[in-house]
């Protein structure tokens, strides 16, 4: 059988909602045991649909998928015993305490907190001072940690996380990715979706997903290396004025704000010197141009522009 020994195999999955909404179009990928795999794309790209199919909560229209060799359609109940799932919406019991939620999920899966405590210890220790607090009264960051504990307490071999870091501040995000890295090191396969492009660096491999299709898949380094669109960072006083002028320049293909500078891609092999003199002629004297290595956001934008131009 193809994909033997893989933690997750997805082969040609299609799913539509009510005919005209193609949520997933022919999606295929594999995830190895002990791999941290990122599904990166915006709201509406199809990430949640895909995770719901893999956790056997939704049936695909066509194509096949398996988790540790178990088919998502025929062997759904076996899959449910070996996967952990953290949905995008907080779905623990708000009127049970921290401790009660964890006990509940352990019991549902026929195990005890004691038997698997070593799996969650690292994370649960931070929740322990609040273990009698109702889950509904926890802060965002703590809710997320508790949800992760509850998804782990039955010792799953594959973990599916749907946008665990959306709306979470940068410090908590960083901590959360640290936890995922340690879980991965312990041998669990992790499939995580996120709209934050910068989180790509935390994954072994990523799939960029947009409008139900995977538009690129590789390691971050691989994706960056295969998309060397000539990109210039432009700085200058009055960023909005500079942006508008760059967009008005006839040789500009596209230009977007990136923090304190703009990233510019020109048509064909147009010379950036031309853009520079155009800006000066428009009264932007103090501009500077430098060639940069595209970031993952640049690549995502480039791939979207390529699609739009087809």
């Amino acid at each position: 059988m193809a994909g033997e020994g893989q933690a997750v195999v997805v082969d040609g999955i299609c799913k539509s909602y009510g005919g005209d909404v193609q949520a997933l179009q022919n999606v295929s990928f594999e995830v190895k045991p002990g791999e941290l795999f990122g599904l990166i794309g915006p709201d509406g790209a199809g990430k949640t649909t895909l995770l719901r199919i893999l956790t056997t909560l939704l049936l695909a229209d066509s194509g096949s998928a398996s988790v540790h060799g178990l088919d998502v359609r025929r062997e759904f109940s076996a899959i449910r015993g070996i996967v952990g799932y953290m949905p995008g919406k907080f779905s623990l019991y708000q009127d049970l305490s921290v401790e009660e939620n964890l006990n509940f999920f352990a019991t549902v899966f026929g195990t005890t907190v004691k038997a698997n405590y070593h799996l969650v210890e690292d994370i649960y220790r931070q929740l322990e001072p609040f273990k009698t607090r109702l889950a509904g009264n926890l802060s965002g960051g703590m809710k997320q940690k508790l949800a992760l504990c509850c998804a782990l307490i039955h010792a799953p071999t594959v973990l599916f996380l749907d946008e665990p870091t959306t709306g979470v501040d940068p410090v908590s995000r960083k901590d959360f990715w640290g936890m995922l890295g340690r879980l991965r090191d312990s041998g669990i396969a992790i499939v995580v979706s996120t709209p934050y492009m910068d989180e790509a660096a935390r994954c072994e491999r990523i799939a960029l997903i947009q409008k139900g299709q995977i538009i690129a898949m590789d390691s971050l380094a691989g994706i960056l290396a295969s998309n060397q669109t000539e990109t210039y960072a432009v700085r200058g006083e009055g960023l909005l004025g500079v942006l508008k002028a760059l967009r008005a320049y006839p040789e500009t293909r596209y230009c977007y704000a990136f923090g304190q500078e703009h990233h510019l891609v020109l048509k064909g092999d147009a010379d950036p010197k031309g853009a520079e003199s155009f800006l000066r002629a428009q009264g932007h004297q103090d501009v500077s141009f430098r060639r940069i290595e595209p970031t993952i956001e640049d690549v995502f934008i480039a791939l979207m522009q390529d699609q739009a131009d087809v």
Partner: protein, 247 residues
């Protein structure tokens, strides 16, 4: 520089023995884009609620558009717009109905509301979807319509509470184009975000830690001051020192 539109002087808000906002002071001028950053639970929402006239300060002073947050909160509400990702539009109304509804709430006449509606529909290129229910629209469109609605009455200040989560990098930037244009028209923009690159689009930012403002200035100056390449690094080094947890 124009008159400050938002002023806080030792602004403090306590809930019982918990000090959510601890003596913050800041001034934001007309047409400025001000990024109000902080970890979850640092006190941003509480401060923002005071600025919006929804909550009284415990001590200190806040004024918005020249009106005092303690004594004239109702006047403040006439001068501001507010948008949050969590709530902004009625999903079971159409795009047009939403714009007309909010125009009415913000006190525009029937005629003005009608004009403003077609203006926004044109600007956002929504001619084909103006009669669609908001619930059927992609998130990025909802966000841009929400922003247009929050500024439909040309307020002095618009407060944006995490306006842009979850959209693709192009849509996110289109949203920021709208913010820049509003600021050019003289609207002061006061925005919270967890995207640190967006913090760098702001004229100035502040970073709140445990209820107090731990740093404030132009993004480039703060990076220099902390000798780090990005605002994310500044944020992390400050927020790591926080002693309190949670929202």
């Amino acid at each position: 520089m124009s008159e400050p539109v938002i002023v806080a002087e030792n602004l403090t808000r306590r809930f019982g023995d918990f000090t959510a906002v601890d003596a913050i002071s800041l001034e934001v001028s007309g047409g400025e884009i001000f990024g109000f950053l902080g970890a979850n639970g640092a006190g941003k929402t509480t401060a923002m609620r005071i600025f919006c006239g929804l909550l009284e300060p415990s001590s200190g002073r806040a004024s918005v558009a020249g009106f005092d947050a303690m004594t004239e909160p109702e006047k403040i509400k006439n001068e501001i717009g507010y948008m949050s990702q969590k709530f902004s539009l009625y999903s079971k109304l159409t795009v047009k109905e939403n714009i007309r509804f909010f125009a009415g709430v913000y006190g525009l006449s029937r005629k003005q509301a009608k004009e403003k509606t077609s203006e926004i529909v044109d600007q956002l290129g929504l001619a084909n979807t103006a009669d669609a229910l908001v619930t059927d629209l992609p998130l990025g469109w909802k966000q841009r319509i929400s922003f247009a609605v929050a500024t439909v009455h040309e307020p002095k200040v618009v407060f944006l509470d995490e306006p842009t989560g979850g959209v693709d990098p192009i849509v996110r930037r289109q949203f920021w184009d709208m913010i820049y244009e509003a600021a050019e028209r003289g609207i002061t923009v006061f925005v919270t975000t967890h995207y640190m690159d967006e913090a760098e689009y702001c004229d100035r930012i502040s970073i709140m830690v445990d209820g107090a403002i731990a740093a404030m200035g132009k993004p480039a100056d703060l990076c220099k001051q902390y000798a780090v390449p990005t605002i994310e690094d500044v944020f992390i080094s400050l927020a790591r020192k926080a002693t309190r947890h949670g929202d």
